[in-house]
Amino acid sequence: MSDSPTLARLARAERKVQLLESMIEEKTRDLYIAMRKLENSARELSQVTSAVPAAILVFGRDGFISLANETAERLLGQPTRTLIGRDVAALFVPGAEPVFGAQQLTATTPAQERICVSTTGEHIPVLASCAPIHNGKGQCERSVAVIFDIRERRRLELELRHSQKLEAVGRLAAGVAHEINTPVQFVNDSIHFLHESSHDLSALLTRYQSIAKRVEEGRPVSELIEETREFEQEIDLEYISGNGPMAFDRSIEGLDRVTSIVRTLKEFSHPDGGMMERVDLNGGVNSVLVIAHNEYKYVADVVSDLGEIPNILAHRGEINQVLLNLVVNAAHAIADRVGESGERGNIRIATRCEGEYVHLTVSDNGTGVPVHLRERIFEPFFTTKTVGRGTGQGLASVRAMVIERHQGRIALDSEVGKGTTMHIRLPIAGAQVVLPT
């Protein structure tokens, strides 16, 4: 017995089942494709994070790491699985700046130089910044730290600074050679005088010995004495007696001066190890005045007003470089003003202790710096000097070394036609002291 509505319902039910089966197949296919895309995205993301030449650490509000890339493994010397769950703050040596960690970030932090500690205890200089990761509701539940290993950069910077220092020394080489040559010249003159005098004195001594022998033998000596007196006149014994000791004094003084110049030059040229040490700033001033003597001696008189200051924690080589650059600049500024007039300018160097830092001033009465150039003179390669007198690296290096390397401060007072005073403030305790604004 046929029942049309029932058959229709059965047919409809069958068709629905077919439809549903088809939809399930389609959804399954879509799901498979979506899964493959997700896997590919995850793989691509993993490849990208592995390839990034910076350590990436994701951590929660509690500061515990939830994700670390391969670069983080290599940098810190520990596998990812041991990094996961660690407190991110524990990976850094505590510094003056706030440490990444259990805090809710509201914005990306600027890149900061920090020290990471590897599993072997090695201290690794890094450049690190941190950014919040916002969820769909705009809340920060996690943060990501990006950390660059800057050991190679530090090494290159060290090499560059040493090269710059040698470049500066090289530029002064002619002057230093002249400085050495002057005392060597009068040592040479003195030694020649003493050499000649020694022959005459030796001959005179022989005559005195002959006289003595005759006296012992009871023979007449008056004629011999007269001849000897004539010989004394001939060799100008009075002159030799007066100038001989002075010639020795000059020779000793000259050799001492050469020794001092060579020692200072050697100290100045010696590469520092990149580590900070206690530096006598006043001693550095005196050394630089020796090295740079030929640069200023024809155009300026130097006055040192060096106060009682403690040794500062600094990079010795860089401080010497700063002093040298400032003194040479001052000398050149004066030379530009006085020209061939024969007038002499003044350079004054003073040091004072001001609270937690030392204040160094280098003043000259040279050309002064026009207002529109006062920022530019610190730009790398900017120079107003003629070719051969500078490459524009001097004050740029000073700025980099004082501000970036020592967290010091530079200020400039200048008046065109009157002169310039450079103010350098350096923290006694080294970088990490916050200077007043």
Partner: protein, 187 residues
């Protein structure tokens, strides 16, 4: 329109008028509708209009009354199929407030190609009457009115509403004033 609505409409007709009436209505529709509808499927809005039209013709009921009754019938069945959508909602006013930002978001997670109406509620202040704005290209405000009744019943309340404007009369949305007074228990 999603197939689940068609399924509930089928239940509505079967429940009210029986199998024979439903089969007659279905056969009076275009051939492509004879296959029936599966819940996860997506079908033309015009198919729903056709079924409603044929239903009203066959059963001699007014379309407005039929649609409102259908809306009231549909709400509890939607809740039964997708209880997670209304989970944690404790009163009818709260449910209406969460239609757009929560309920329809969850619906779209389950059915990504679902096209949902826009339902906006204004703050009530000290009043117990809520202003609700319904907006949809389908203009099924009668169904929405029925859904409001279903919402009240879901939470054991009566539903009192009045419609202040209608898209069928040219307004850009249908504005309802609705309140859900708590039923006094008879002693």
């Amino acid at each position: 329109m999603k197939g689940v609505i068609f399924n509930i409409l089928e239940e509505f007709i079967l429940d009210g008028w029986g199998r024979e009436a439903f089969e007659d209505i279905l056969l009076s529709c275009p051939v492509h509708m004879h296959e029936g509808h599966v819940a996860p499927g997506t079908y033309a809005d015009a198919d729903m209009v056709t079924i409603v039209q044929k239903t009203c013709e066959r059963l001699k009921v007014s379309p407005a009354d039929a649609l409102t009754a259908f809306g009231r019938f549909m709400f509890p069945r939607l809740v039964a199929r997708y209880p997670q959508v209304v989970e944690g909602i404790s009163d009818p006013y709260q449910l209406l407030e969460q239609i757009d930002d929560v309920i329809h978001v969850e619906v779209c997670k389950l059915m990504p190609d679902a096209v949902t109406p826009r339902v906006r509620c204004e703050p009530m202040g000290d009043s117990d009457e809520m202003t609700v704005r319904y907006q949809s290209s389908r203009k099924l405000c009668e169904v929405f009115a029925g859904l409001l009744q279903g919402v009240g019943e879901q939470y054991g309340r009566t539903t009192e509403y009045r419609q202040l404007s209608c898209m069928h009369e040219g307004s850009d949305c249908c504005v309802f004033k609705v309140r859900f007074p708590i039923e006094e228990s008879g002693i």
